[in-house]
């Protein structure tokens, strides 16, 4: 790509903005900064970025409101920056349409990896979905409904297959329990929560994936799951 991707940083801490700016510009990104919700919304319309890094606690409001507003007119990828212990906020942000989250404090490598995944996704979304997913030995051929691990074919039940396909659809991103329930079972009921976990365990078992040391499906305790991509 010739044009440097454009990232909007929304955080009220100058030191964090500085760290993000330095890291991102040295990795070939263009950067814009905002301290407040109102500035962020203004910049989103005047200088539409390719991705937004959004802190949830802003001086003039909640970052969650920015996501809500943004999702009314844009599918721009959003990565939420939040503190540990705010699991509920993370889930809310993800269900409002945020693409991912990073827990402060985070390192540069993690930041760049997440940005890479989110940008790849948004580019892929504007193109027809590839029918084959392949990563670290797992291959899912959506057109032919075929799943293989290290060349070995795996037989899944329809629900298990649907669950895996949903994870594939959001590969690399965290998918909340609520989102999975909605996409796979078509409803958002906490009573079904344990079925999701049991199905996920079945999928893991069949893929030969060990939850103790996962190869494909990562657990994000209290939030959801992530398929490594």
């Amino acid at each position: 790509m010739n044009v440097k991707p454009h990232i909007l940083i929304v955080d009220d801490e100058p030191q964090i903005r500085k760290f993000l700016r330095t890291t991102l510009t040295s990795h070939d990104y263009q950067v814009n900064e905002a301290e407040k919700c109102i500035d962020a919304l203004k910049l989103l319309t005047t200088h539409p970025p390719d991705l937004m890094l959004l802190d949830l606690g802003l001086p003039d409001g909640d970052g969650l409101d920015v996501i809500k507003e943004l999702r009314g007119w844009s599918q721009l990828p959003v990565i939420v920056l939040s503190a540990r212990g705010q699991e509920q906020d993370k889930v809310t942000a993800l269900e409002l349409g945020a693409d991912d989250y990073l827990t402060k404090p985070f390192g540069a490598a993690e930041l760049l990896a997440r940005i890479g995944v989110a940008l790849r996704h948004s580019r892929a979304n504007s193109q027809p979905q590839p029918s084959i997913f392949e990563s670290s030995g797992l291959r899912v051929d959506i057109a032919n409904r075929q799943v293989t691990v290290d060349g070995q074919e795996i037989h899944l039940t329809p629900t298990e297959y649907k669950l895996l396909c949903t994870m594939v659809k959001y590969a690399g991103k965290v998918v909340t329990h609520g989102q999975l329930l909605k996409e796979v079972w078509g409803k958002h009921s906490s009573e079904q929560g344990h079925y999701l976990r049991i199905y996920m365990q079945h999928v893991r078992q069949k893929l030969g994936d060990d939850a103790l040391n996962p190869r494909f499906l990562m657990t994000e305790t209290g939030i959801g799951y992530r398929l490594k991509s």
Binding site: G85, H155, R197, A211, P214, G222
Partner: protein, 504 residues
């Protein structure tokens, strides 16, 4: 029991009737023997009757008995009979003597009885006060004391007792709050509180009040005010003295409680002070040490451009490790604060052991790179019904602890099994073990055990807080063959319906 002290019992109608009856009876008994008796003996007979009247009735009744007896004696027993005329000089003297003797006797008997009544009353008051003292002595709570004081005061006297306590120098009625708005009563109580002297009804100050107010005088300050509103609207003279006695007993009891409360508060403050000191030492030592190395490393990189790539990397690695350590201490401090604030709400859900342990291992990968971790539990172990984020934190803290206190290359064991409706989870290491007597103290905040470590003494306190929030119990013990075992029990999730679905 209501105490009432009447100086002249029998002054009601009954006493007079009794006097007249005694007189009539004496006459009736003596009349048949009139001829065989000397008139003086007949007079003696009347004296017996008068003595009876004096013994059982008041002074007035015995006087009435004296007069009627003298008259009856004159009428029936002196010549001429059935007439108040007295013939002989001797009879006249006898009649007068009978009258005088019986009046004196009546008044003496009445005084005697009044005295005995007074002592009886005294004894009643004393035992009532004693009962109150005893009840107050067994009470340790101010509220209980106040209700006991009120109960006993109303039991002893006919009227309403009110209790007032001061708040920021202003007196409030706590037994009948509406009285606080009654200006007359409140001013009297306030005056009594401020001047440590009685006020209100029957006193020179604010006599217009319905209540009589007495201060609870402590050794240093007035502790409160006792008010008493007599039912009949006036105080009887002795009630004042008795109320003073009640107030003084109450004051000493209230003082005892306030001293005890003060001591309790001091103790809590001292505990708080101890915690603050521990926190301060944690902040000053545990936070400063990593900060010092970070600052040192960074500054040496900033001033020295000639550093080799290797030394730069070494310094940067130390900065990275120290920030990780700082991060851990800060999260621990936050967790402790959250656990102690009581704001912690468990979000219980269905969790598999393997997911929680897997994530905990992920978080401690760096720390555990020199250890081998064995997960011995069965894959089919029932799921847990817990707050997964918190239980993962417990596992992370226990793994960190094991890594910290056991030598490199030593194995760490995580095991779990079902115990009835619960799941027992253990984390065991082959480290330096636990000193006898430390098993419980290990879980205390800021306790660092006997070995010096780089821990803040918070990790295990957080574990205990989280496990107890799940109604569980976490224990530590020596492991057979060396090392330590941490063990806790958590509820298992109810097994859901079996899912049957054919493979696609």
């Amino acid at each position: 029991m209501k105490l009432s002290f009447k100086h002249d019992l029998g002054s009601d109608g009954k006493g007079y009737w009794f006097a007249l009856l005694v007189c009539a009876a004496t006459t009736a008994i003596g009349l048949p023997f009139r001829t065989s008796l000397d008139p003086e003996n007949a007079a003696m007979l009347y004296l017996v009757g008068i003595a009876l009247a004096a013994a059982y009735c008041g002074r007035a009744s015995s006087t009435l008995a004296a007069i009627t007896s003298a008259a009856a004696y004159n009428f029936f027993f002196t010549q001429p009979y059935y007439s108040f005329w007295i013939d002989s000089y001797r009879d006249m003297v006898a009649t007068v003597l009978l009258l005088v003797t019986s009046i004196i006797m009546g008044s003496l008997a009445a005084r005697l009885r009044a005295q005995s009544r007074f002592f009886q009353y005294k004894e009643q008051t004393t035992s009532a006060l004693y009962a109150m003292t005893r009840e107050l002595a067994s009470s340790r709570v101010q509220d209980n004391m106040l209700s006991a004081i009120r109960f006993h005061a109303e039991d002893m006297f006919d009227g309403t007792a009110t209790l007032w306590l001061a708040q920021d120098g202003e007196i409030h009625c706590i037994t009948q709050p509406e009285l606080t708005d009654d200006l007359k009563e409140k001013s009297a109580a306030q005056f009594c509180y401020e001047h440590a002297q009685s006020a209100g009804l029957d006193t020179p100050t604010l006599a217009g009040a319905r209540g009589f107010y007495l201060p609870f005088k402590g050794s240093v300050e007035v502790l409160g005010v006792l008010g008493f509103m007599p039912k009949i609207g006036v105080l009887q003279s002795d009630e004042k003295t008795q109320l003073e006695a009640v107030a003084s007993v109450a004051a000493s009891a209230l003082e005892r409680v306030s001293v005890a409360e003060l001591a309790e508060r001091r103790k809590v403050e001292a505990e708080g002070e101890k915690m603050r000191n521990a926190l301060l030492s944690c902040v000053s030592h545990d936070l400063r040490t990593p900060l010092a190395s970070i600052k040192g490393a960074i500054s040496s990189m900033m001033i020295d451009n000639t550093l080799s790539a290797d030394s730069r990397m070494e310094l940067l690695t130390s900065v990275h490790n120290e920030t990780t350590r700082l991060e851990r201490i800060v999260s621990n401090l936050l967790d402790v604060t959250l656990l102690e604030s009581g704001r912690l709400r468990l979000k219980k859900d269905y969790y598999f052991m393997s997911e929680l342990v897997g994530n905990a291992l992920q978080h401690t990968k760096e720390l555990l790179k020199e250890h081998s971790v064995e997960c011995a539990f069965d894959e089919e172990i029932p799921a847990l019904w817990v707050d997964g984020v918190l239980i993962e934190q417990v596992l992370v803290n226990l793994l960190e602890n094991a890594a910290k206190y056991s030598p490199p290359d030593s194995p760490i064991l995580i095991d779990a099994w079902t115990e009835e409706d619960n799941i027992r989870i253990i984390v065991a290491d082959r480290g330096s073990g636990i000193h006898s007597g430390d098993e419980q103290k290990l879980f205390d905040k800021f306790y660092r055990g006997t070995q010096s470590g780089q821990g803040s003494g918070l990790g295990l306190a957080i574990c205990r807080g989280i496990i107890e929030a799940h109604d569980g119990k976490i224990t530590a013990r020596k492991r057979e063959g060396g090392g330590a075992v941490f063990s806790f029990l958590l509820p298992a999730a109810h097994a859901p319906d079996v899912i049957n679905e054919a493979a696609a």
